[in-house]
Subunit: 341 residues, 2 copies
DNA sequence: TACATTTATGTAATCGATAACATTTTATAT
DNA sequence: ATATAAAATGTTATCGATTACATAAATGTA
């Protein structure tokens, strides 16, 4: 009554064995055309549907993959997940989502929880830089379950990654500001234990140096990726004896906070101060004063992460080779930094 | 070597049977303290971890639930998913995400695919109004698998839903415009075969009528939830013989398009024309000209949807009772409609 | 016709955990 | 010390599908 037709039901109905039914359903060559046809028809009639759970237990492949992100309700991560899902669904995979909220214990808990659920792979963006506990990762590797980092990675032997060239993104952004004539460029940084922020900092610094500007460490301030934090930090910058005339922010949200503070002080953007954010969040384009930002093509990143996973799976037991895909970011020049003409 | 310790391994190690191991691990009372301790220690030593797949096959509960949305990379749906995940993860559930991209075949495909994966329930926002094919839904119900609609629902007997009071949201928004002195209010609608848009239209209409304004059907135009569509439609409105002096849009994106068109014509907001959107997308608050919008508290909606699911699961075989939660929307009044003082 | 092949089907084990039922061991009462 | 109850453990079937191996049926060959 409650659905759930199994191959045994079909077998009984036709007075054959479950093995034969299984073979018929799987296009196994060792079966007569007549029987196959009969089984297929009966299966359809009885609304048979394969129980993937049983298959998974038998085969050791669940066709589920886990995706771990700090949070899902940010355009960046949501877009990555979109890309992953679109790439994997056609191949028969389902995507399980876990959020860590930047909590280390949840990060580890999620990994274990996904392992218990027998996922075929884990794609994740690590949230905690201090996550010294490589144990959970090692466990994955020992079990030969593909682990792939996207965006926020950790250097672990045998683990592939898909990231963007944060250094280049930052370098290009800073260079653009310099080209626009800005001389004293500040940088709203973030926890530099995380590679992405470290590299953005380094790219910024290199651009300053390469172009003969004075590099002033006091113009670099670490803050959190929140609007009000950006505002607070900008207050500090503007109150300096020699305030900056441009700000390259490692986050669109802090860039927005900076804009708010700058406007409150009656300063003009981009005439008096230039602003660039990072991530190309949708709102940067929507603002009347549109914000120049670095696009990370997150959907593409998700797609490629999924592809790298598929490659590893298809590679099977072969040599576990790391693959590191580095995508090129694109500077989206908008009003907040375009001073010419 | 490759991990995967099973209860049989532990049993062999201790010269007992798997059943005893299972009992020890599950705190079954029928076991001696000594054996339990021994098993627990050995399990820890051998890095045992329960295979949820085997458990799922045996128990018929996968502890996976499917969530089907049109797309995940919109703040609204991402926030709902966030709420769902946060509510269900602590209860041991994993959330599987599927996107339909508003395609009917994908919608049906997703349901079947999730069914095969033996999910314990499906939470979804239907994307296609024309989805006459109730077959897939009936299949779910027949199998006694909880199906719960959120936001975009369909009236199906036995199916619970969590929605917001779109009528009220629209009514309040329109009433607010009227209170601000706007006299000729247009409505950017959307496919009214979908209940949410139908109800927003009805709420708008009722507010117009209740407040003695003239209801003019030509001021209601269906469009798609895209910025450029909103712009295009607004063009039509502004070119009318008697153009509107306010626009209540069923989407924040069309509201944004409307603003762009209005500004290009040199009209002032909110002085000449008032604007209200729907959904309270993050950017509405970030804009310099912040947009008044109707908040749908999506994270809360997700949470409650999950709770309704849990209730149905715990209800077990009991009377299948529909539950319809209707959340109250909140009007977020911002600059785009605040004309007084 | 008799024997070798090929083809189709059946049998039974397996994946890992659980649980009803059976059996053994230990504790308690007489 | 013996009967009996209670506690602990073992045996085995089960969830649903797959598959190596065994067997039966069909076909081919001499």
């Amino acid at each position: 009554m409650s659905g759930k037709t199994t191959i045994y039901d079909i077998a009984k109905e036709l007075n054959i064995t479950a093995a034969t039914v299984s073979r018929a359903l799987n296009n196994n060559p060792k079966i007569s055309k007549a029987t196959r046809k009969l089984v297929l028809e009966t299966a359809a009639k009885m609304n048979y549907e394969q129980n993937k759970l049983a298959l998974a237990l038998k085969s050791g492949k669940s066709y589920n993959i886990g995706v771990i992100v700090p949070r899902i309700d940010s355009n960046f991560f949501a877009s990555i997940i979109r890309g992953i899902e679109e790439e994997l669904y056609p191949k028969g995979y389902h995507v399980i989502i876990c959020q860590t909220h930047d909590q280390e214990d949840l990060e580890i808990g999620n990994i274990n929880s996904l392992l218990n659920a027998q996922v075929d792979g884990i794609l994740m963006s690590i949230s905690n830089a201090k996550l010294e506990d490589n144990q959970s990762f090692q466990k994955l590797l020992k079990k030969n379950i593909p682990l792939i980092f996207f965006d926020r990675k950790k250097d672990i032997k045998g683990v592939s990654s898909v990231t963007i060239d944060d250094f280049k993104g930052a370098y290009d952004a800073t260079k653009h500001l310099i080209d626009q004539g800005y001389k004293r460029i500040a940088h709203l940084s973030n926890d530099r234990l995380l590679l992405i922020f470290k590299n953005r900092y380094l790219g910024y610094k290199q651009a300053i140096i390469d172009n003969g500007l004075e590099f002033d460490e006091s113009l670099v301030i670490e803050t959190q990726s929140k609007v009000h934090e950006g505002k607070k930090t900008t207050k500090i910058l503007l109150d300096m004896e020699r305030p900056p005339d441009a700000i390259f922010s490692s986050s669109d949200f802090t860039a927005l906070g900076a804009i708010q503070e700058i406007k409150e002080r009656g300063l003009r953007i981009p005439e008096d101060i230039g602003i660039i954010g990072f991530s190309n969040e949708p709102f940067t384009k929507f603002m009347e004063l549109s914000i120049t930002s670095v696009d990370q093509s997150p959907t593409e990143m998700g797609r490629i992460t999924a592809q790298v996973f598929l490659e590893e799976v298809n590679n099977g037991k072969k040599i576990k080779s790391e693959k590191h895909v580095v995508l090129s970011p694109e500077l989206m020049v908008r009003k907040s930094s375009r001073r010419e003409n």
